[in-house]
Structures are given as C-alpha cells and as structure tokens.
C-alpha cells in the first residue's frame, strides 16, 4: 500500500500545541507511508484539493488525515478521497484536536501523542479493504404507531405525499390525549373542533389504513423493508357490520364499567363507543365488565344489534404488513400520583387530576360541561390547583419538567372562572415555565384578568375539614404558611413514557432512556431520527411536549419518512459483518447474540454455517467479539485491524 499522511494545523487549533511538521516527519517513517506533510486546513477546499493532488502525484492508495474528530469530518474526507479515485474506506483519521491539542498544553507530549495516533491510524489503514455498498428496493409504505395528534399529523402528511400509511392505535379510537381536552392553550379554542376534522381525514384518506384497538406484535426486517405483525385485539363486535348507532350501549345492563376515555369521572357501559366523535365510530366490548363473559348470561347487545354485529367468539387476529419506514408516536401516560400521601393518596374524591378536570369541563364529558365535585355533585367555589405533581421530583424518579403543566393549569384556571364566575382559583407553583409564542402573556392574563391567586410554594398536606379540603402549603415569596379551604383540588400531574414503551422500543430495536422515552439519533441534529435506520419519532414518546411541538414533530417525522421512501433503491452500509465459511463451525453463538436478527443459519453441503443478512446488519460487531474462532468479522473493524492498532501502541 502507498499511504499518504496529512497533518492538519486547523489554524492554530492543533498547531498551537502540536508540532505538526514534526509529526509529519515522524509519520514519514511509518510502514507503507510514502508521503507525509502538514497542511493548514485539511477540510477546507484548498486542503481537500491538496490531498487529491497528492494522491494523484504520489500514486497513493490510502490516506490518513490527522485533524479533528472523525465524527466531524470523516464523511468530508471520504468524499474527497473518492474524488481522488480511492475507495472511501481506504481512509483513516487520527483525532489530534479533540483528543490531543485541545486537552493539554504540553507541546512535547502532544506532539508525541499525535504521532502515535497517526501510527495507529496508518497501521489500521494497511489492513483496510475496499468496501462497496449494495442497493436494494424499498417498500413505499409507512407504519405510524399511535393515533394521537402527532401520529395523525405524521400519517396525514405522509399520505398526502402519496405514501401508503398504516396506522396502529392501541385504543378503540384515535385522538389520543388531545381528544380528551376541552380547550387548548393559549388560544382557548375547542380541542375537538380542531382535532375532529383531522381524525375524520384519517378515516377517509384513501392512502391510510387504520387498525384501531390493535398493537404492534413483532417487527423484523430492516430499513426500506420492515415486516410488521399487528395484533388486532378482539372487540367482540364485527366492525364491518357495526354502524355505530349506539343502540347496544343504551341497552347494556352493565353500567358500572370504568370509563377510560373519561378518566373514570363517571361510569360507562361494558359495550361502548368511547365518545361521540370517535374514529372509528364502532362499538367494542370491555370483556372485564361484560356480564356474558363474567356471569355467562346476558347477550342483550347481540339481541338489540340491528346488524347482527356482535360476535362473542371473536379472537385476536394477526395482520402482516410490509412497510419501508416506521414512525413511533406512542405518546405518554400520566404518572400515578397516588404515591403522594400528602395529597391524600387517592382517598379524597375531591382531589382530581387535571385530565379528569378536562373531562368535567368538556361539554361532551360525563358532567355535560358542568364542574361538579365528585363527592356531592355540588359546584365548587374555591378551586386549588397544585402544579409539579410528579414532575421535577427526584424522590419518585421523575426529576424532569413535564413542560406543559404550567400552561394547562393557567388555561384551566381561566376556564374555571368562565364556568363559575364567582369562583376563586388558587395555583401552587414552583416556577412558571412558559416559553412559547403567547405563552407568558397567557399566564399573566390568568392572574391579572381572571384573578387567579398564584402562590409560590409547595403543598405539604391536604386534609378534609367539614365538607372542604384544607390545603396547607408554604408561600416562599411571602415567607409563611398558607392554608386554603378548597372545594376542589386539581393536581397538575406530570407525564411519563407510555406504559410498555421499553417493550415497544425493543421490538423496534431503538434505544430508550432511563424513563422509557425513546432516544433520538442526536439531541440537536437528529431530533426525529433514531439510531435504527428507518424508524422515526414523533410527539411525547421522545420526551414530553405540548400540542404544537407534537404536531411539528409529526410533520418532521413524516418528512423524514417521505424523504427516505422517495428513493426507489437504498444503499446498504458496507461496514457490516461477513463470515469466512471455511472457519465457521456453525455453533450459532453469533445468531444467539445478534441484536438485529441479522444472522441466519444456512446449510452448506450438510454443514451448518452462519450467514449475514447484509441489509439487516447494523455493524455493531457483537458477533465478531462472540465468535470464538473469529469466523465472523466486522468489515472495517476486523480483529486484525484492531489488533494492529493495539500492537502499534504496545509494541513500540
């Protein structure tokens, strides 16, 4: 091999503490190095041109650039050497800026270390091989997991762009959390009035197939060609026949079912349509509450159904679809606030969550839009809102800010005044966080125009007294204790990753953080990508956010999917594992550990052997580290390449 070495000054960034010319001189003596020089800015156009010129002049077949981190400019230089006619993988970088010049001032030590890093890079480069990507066709269909506002936005954008969309929603209706809200901040416009039409669009769009009351069962395959299995849970109602007339729900004798949509504010029936604007507007039976399933006798709904849609024998069904990209938009859940003894741990009926309060405020909710105390149905006058319940609290493992509670609390205080003009709202808060367009003005307005009293401090306890609840807390601005006798207490409960997020992440082979939120590819530059190619994120599943941000992310994720699937063919990364079939003994250890199921067993003249599915392999190299005989190797990071680096460091 004929190696050229280029030591970049990066202006004074490197040259300030590294003798670049000295490094270049030492590198000239390394094995297979035939040309070595220092250069002012390797990444700038003149620098790249100099590299290209040197390749041509000296007949170089490999290039080492010692400059900044490969995470910055490896792609830049790979393209440059490609322009010079060398395969892009016949290139190595030595990081002498972030790992040398920027972390120490000792010129002698830095120069020596830089020279060693170049030796390592050159030693590895000697063993590099030309690698070429392979092309494969893509399936132009997107899976959207979750039918909340983020998922709806992603699905509509992708469908409008001409892609087929498959949407999977766990609940019997799409709409998510937004569908439960009465109004939205800071405009105080009707939530269902703006969301409803979009839900209808989903139902009517010719490119969208909706699987409600369904969950993701299994994902295999790879970017461009995922094979997805969807479990359609049994609803015991044939939705092809159900017209959504609602007769069954009127006649159902089991009227004590938990009303999930209404957050348990009132009971509902065992067969139900979650709410009037539900999409799809179809009935389903909650098996746990149905008399037929639990007592063996009833069948009223089957008798009254005019279309004969009721099917008690219905089983879960698995649907298989092939998609090219996946958008995860699974949203969030409220934290279980009953861990807090100071708020009564759920013992007091008149302590409710903000989402329950939304249902009370909603004209289509169980109270018909009248605020009533759950204990006695009376209209409350003094309403206390407590913010940061299960947010910013390390003691319960929820140290983060949920982000939207300050705003919706302000909105609810305004709505309280609108509903009950002679009411008085009190808001206990830690800080007001309202960085958004028109947000801060909104939190001012609730105090200044609507007379809500904001108390900066934490509530230490709530206890019943007479028919009221005494809320005792600190006022850290006034420096004293406050007690408010409340008729109703509303907890601004924070959010957490939706139940089952880690399990879903594992199915999608994406990573998730300690709270279960899915990890984006890069916190700044890849906010909706994941580290699994072809899987994108939208909405609160990536981290809690409000409606505008969720919608924006839904569009962003759709744009990424559209971009990906706009191509007919995709290139696979050639930095993947390969098997030397002669060495492979078919012990299956690589197959066992591969996180991507990218290795399968094949039969070769009666002998079992491993085979890498090139499009599935992500290039982690776990198989390589597992294979005892080194029969499976990761291209560009083979045992010999890494050993050459170790030897370059240890032998000299």
């Amino acid at each position: 091999m004929r190696i050229g070495v280029f030591i970049c000054h990066c202006g004074s960034n490197i040259a300030g503490t590294v003798d670049c010319a000295g490094v270049a001189q030492r590198a000239a003596a390394y094995p297979d190095v035939v040309y070595s020089t220092d250069i002012m800015y390797a990444c700038a156009e003149p620098g790249q041109d100099a590299v290209i010129a040197a390749v041509k002049e000296h007949g170089l077949t490999g290039v080492v650039v010692a400059s900044c981190t490969p995470r910055m400019h490896e792609p830049t230089f790979r393209k440059a050497v490609e322009r010079a006619g060398i395969n892009r993988y016949m290139f190595e970088m030595a990081n002498i800026r972030e790992h040398v010049s920027w972390i120490g001032k000792d010129v002698e030590a830095n120069t020596n270390k830089a020279a060693e890093l170049v030796r390592m890079a050159a030693a590895k480069l000697r063993l590099n091989r030309e690698l070429k990507p392979k092309s494969f066709p893509v399936t132009k269909r997107v899976l959207v997991i979750g039918g909340g506002v983020a998922g709806i936005q992603a699905a509509l954008d992708a469908a409008d762009a001409g892609l087929e969309v498959v949407m999977v929603e766990k609940q019997p209706t799409i709409g998510g959390k937004m569908a439960k809200l009465d109004k939205t901040f800071p405009t105080v416009d009707c939530s269902s009035c703006i969301l409803g039409p979009r839900m209808v669009d989903v139902a009517q769009h010719p490119n969208i197939t909706l699987y409600a009351y369904s969950e993701l069962e299994e994902v295999s395959g790879y970017v461009g060609n995922f094979d997805v299995k969807i479990r359609k849970k049994a609803t015991y109602v044939n939705w092809d026949k159900c017209t959504g007339c609602g007769l069954c729900t009127e006649k159902c004798p089991s009227k004590k079912s938990y009303d999930r949509f209404n957050e348990g504010v009132g009971p509902t029936t065992a067969i139900l349509i979650p709410f009037p604007q539900a999409i799809p507007k179809k009935a389903s039976i909650e098996r746990d509450y149905c008399r037929l399933f639990n007592q063996g006798k009833c069948g009223v709904c089957a008798k009254v159904c005019p279309t004969g849609a009721i099917d008690y024998a219905m089983q879960d069904e698995i649907v298989e679809v092939k998609v090219g990209g996946i958008v995860a938009a699974t949203g969030y859940d409220l934290v279980d606030w009953t861990v807090y003894g100071e708020y009564g741990a759920g013992r007091y009926p008149d302590v409710v969550t903000s989402l329950q309060y939304e249902r009370m405020l909603s004209a289509s909710g169980p109270t018909g839009g009248h605020i009533k105390r759950p204990s006695d149905g009376k209209e409350p006058k003094d309403v206390v809102f407590i913010q940061c319940v299960a947010s910013r609290d390390p003691s319960i493992g929820r140290p983060y800010c949920s982000g939207f509670c300050c705003m919706y609390t302000a909105k609810q205080a305004i709505l309280t005044k609108d509903h009950i003009p002679d009411s008085q709202s009190y808001v206990f808060y830690m800080d007001i966080r309202s960085p958004g367009k028109g947000y801060d003005e909104f939190t001012r307005r609730v105090q200044e125009e609507y007379g809500a009293r904001y108390v900066r401090g934490r509530v230490s306890m709530i206890y019943p007294k007479g028919g009221k609840l005494v809320v005792r807390g600190a006022d850290t601005l006034m420096g004293g204790q406050v007690e408010v006798e409340a008729d109703l207490v509303v907890l601004a409960v924070g959010g957490e990753a939706a139940a089952g997020s880690p399990a879903l992440a594992e199915k999608l082979r994406i990573s998730y953080d300690g709270y279960g939120f899915f990890m984006e590819g890069h916190p700044k530059l890849k906010p909706v990508e994941t580290n699994t190619a072809g899987v994108f994120l939208a909405g609160a599943c990536q981290g809690l956010k409000d409606i505008p941000s969720s919608v924006a992310q839904g569009s962003a994720a759709a744009a990424k999917a559209i971009g990906l699937l706009s191509r007919n063919m995709l290139d696979s990364d050639p930095q993947i594992a390969f098997v030397s079939v002669n060495r492979c003994v078919g012990c299956r250890k690589c197959i066992e550990v591969c996180p991507f199921k990218a290795i399968r067993e094949i039969d070769m003249r009666g002998q079992p052997k491993a085979e890498v599915i090139e499009t599935v392999c992500q290039g982690c190299g776990l198989c390589n580290a597992t294979c005892p005989q080194g029969a499976i190797q990761l291209s560009h990071f083979t045992d010999n390449q890494i050993l050459a680096e170790v030897e370059a460091l240890c032998r000299f």
């Binding site: 000239a28 094995p31 002669n582």
Partner: protein
C-alpha cells in the same frame, strides 16, 4: 560399553561443581524436575541434574529450537527520499557451544534420524540446513544409561537399547555413587579431560549394570514387515479410522518425539520491520497440510495418524537406508492424553496386512 574406549569417573557429590565449571564454556542443559514434569533446562551453577526420573520431553530443542528467529528484517528509509525503503536483513547470532548432560540413549539416537534430513542427503547436501547443522556441530551429548525400562519403552524394537551409545559423545553409567563415563568422541574427551580415570571396579560395576538393564527388557517385537505392511495399508481407510478413533490429534506425540523434525515458517512483521520464525510443526494438526487454496489433503485425523505412523515406519526407512524414524523412547505413548499406543498400531498394521 566397549572395552577399548577411555573410561572416566565422577562422583555424584562432585557432579554439580564439575558441571558448573563446564558451564563456563557453554550452556549445559540437563534434566530438571519442574512440577510433575522433567525437562531439559540450562543448568545454573550448583544445580544437580535430575538423573532418577526420565525426562518428559526429548532434548531435541537444544539443537532444533521450538521456535527460532532465522533473521530479522527492516526497511531503512532513505534520508533524501523517505518513501524509498532499502531492505536490511540481520542474521540471527551464531549459537554458542552446548552440552546436554544426562540425555537418554533414545534422545541421542533421535538426532540420527534428524541428521540425514538436515544434511540434505537426498540432494547431495545441496539443501543442507545451516541453522540446524551449526547447532548440531556445537552440541555435545552426554548420555546417561537407563537403569530400568518403563512400560512404554521399546528402544530395543527399533535398534536401540537402554545403554546404547549410538549418537553419544559420552555414555555415562551409574556405578558406586557416581558415573562411569565412556568417552566416545574427541569432543567427549575434551569435556571429561579433567576427570580421573575410572577404576577397574567402577568399570566392572558399570558393565554389570548395563547387562542387568539390557537383560531386564522384554523381548523386542519383530518389525521387519512393518514398512511393507504400512505401505500396503495406505488406502485402508477403515483400518485407520478405527486406530485413530480415540486420538484427539494434539501435537504432544510429535513435539515430545526425539525424531520428529517438521517445522513451519512464519513472518511476523509490522509492514516495515519484522522477523522470520521457524517453529515446530506437527503432522497431527489439520493445518499441517492445509493448502492456500483451502484444500486439505489430510482432512481427517485418520489421514494424519496414518501419515505419522507411516512416515516413521515406512516412508522414512524407504529413503534412509531402512532406519526407522523412531527411537522407541515411548514418550508419544506415555504422554498421550488419550492413550494412543504407536506400538499397537504398527503391530495391528502388520497383522492386518498379513490378513489382507
């Protein structure tokens, strides 16, 4: 032990001092006990050789190291044109003189199987091996006669004996709290020059000891039919499959063998500088015959065991005047982890060939 040669005597008490003086002129290798093994080690001043138990390994590594650097190489950069590298070879240093004190008779006879090969006798000396020959010529062999035979010994089957002097410079026989040294070469005479002559009584006792051990050996099996028998079984796959069934094809037999002389050559290099190594190889390993194409003419252990036995008792004798490439030391049997017995294989082969 012949009557004509000079006989010297050294008492066991005087031995460490004598060997320490000898070590001033070269490296003295002698058996030493290490753990459960007895191995030939360079003797440090004051160390006594282990002459009671028989060495686990042969002493062939003194002349034929397990791995030796033939030469080192480097690319030297031209000051004016750094890209141009001139290759520079550095020969390994000449080996110094060595003595193996307390080798077994079979060990000394082992070198007699090596010599024709490394002298390049098949090429009229054209392919003589300098590395081997220069060590061989500088190594003195002092053989200590065995006092008894082990269950695995069969030196008398292949032309040797417990007190055979073949290949030795000096033959030492235990007698009267010391060793009677039979001087067999000029080098041996120089080695023993400072020692007193053995008394008649000492010589008599030594001769009696030699006779006693020679008489104690079981009768040798008749192997004259073996070369032809093994040659005729070359294609008898079933025979070799059965004989090799319990073989685990490690290299213990060949590496402990005083007559196995095969080697491999590898370069260790960082691309600019490095060494060329010659290291022991063994025909029981599948890599021994693995070709660059990936083809292996001896893919199974049966093929390889056939080669090992065939080589020793048929192919080698056909090239080297009928001499077996086996000295009957029995180490391959004694140290075989799966109790493969080469005697049984040869005898089975003779029987099998007779039946066919």
């Amino acid at each position: 032990m012949s009557a004509e040669t000079v006989k010297k005597f050294i008492s066991f008490d005087a031995l460490p001092g004598f060997l320490a003086r000898a070590a001033e002129h070269g490296t003295v290798y002698a058996p030493r006990r290490e753990g459960s093994a007895v191995v030939y080690r360079p003797l440090k001043p004051g160390d006594a050789p282990e002459l009671g138990a028989r060495p686990t390994e042969s002493c062939k590594h003194v002349v034929f190291p397990r791995s030796e650097t033939l030469f080192s190489f480097a690319g030297k950069a031209d000051a004016a044109q750094p890209a141009v590298r001139r290759p520079v070879l550095t020969e390994s240093p000449e080996p110094g003189p060595a003595v193996v004190f307390g080798a077994l008779s079979c060990d000394a006879r082992g070198f007699l199987a090596f010599d024709p090969v490394y002298k390049g006798s098949g090429t009229g000396g054209a392919a003589a091996d300098t590395y081997y020959l220069r060590r061989r010529s500088r190594t003195l062999l002092v053989v200590k006669a065995c006092k008894s035979a082990l269950n695995t010994c069969f030196c008398n089957w292949v032309g040797g004996g417990p007190a055979s002097a073949q290949g030795a410079d000096v033959l030492a026989v235990e007698a009267e709290q010391g060793l009677v040294l039979d001087i067999l070469s000029e080098q041996g005479a120089i080695f023993a020059e400072t020692l007193p002559a053995a008394s008649e009584g000492q010589v008599g006792a030594a001769l009696a000891a030699v006779k006693a051990v020679e008489d104690s050996l079981p009768k040798a099996a008749e192997l004259s039919a073996a070369p032809a028998a093994l040659a005729s079984l070359f294609s008898s796959a079933e025979f070799w499959k059965n004989e090799s069934a319990h073989c685990l094809y490690c290299g213990a037999c060949t590496y402990l063998c005083p007559t196995c002389y095969c080697f491999n050559i590898t370069d260790e290099s960082d691309g600019l500088s490095g060494v060329r190594l010659r290291s022991w190889d063994n025909c029981m390993s599948p890599l021994f015959t693995l070709e660059a194409s990936g083809h292996n003419p001896r893919p199974n252990k049966a093929d390889r065991l056939k080669n090992r036995v065939g080589h020793k008792f048929s192919y080698y004798p056909s090239l080297h005047a009928g001499r077996f490439s086996c000295c009957g030391c029995g180490r391959c049997i004694k140290s075989c982890p799966s109790s493969v017995d080469i005697r049984k294989i040869v005898l089975d082969a003779v029987k099998e060939a007779a039946n066919v």
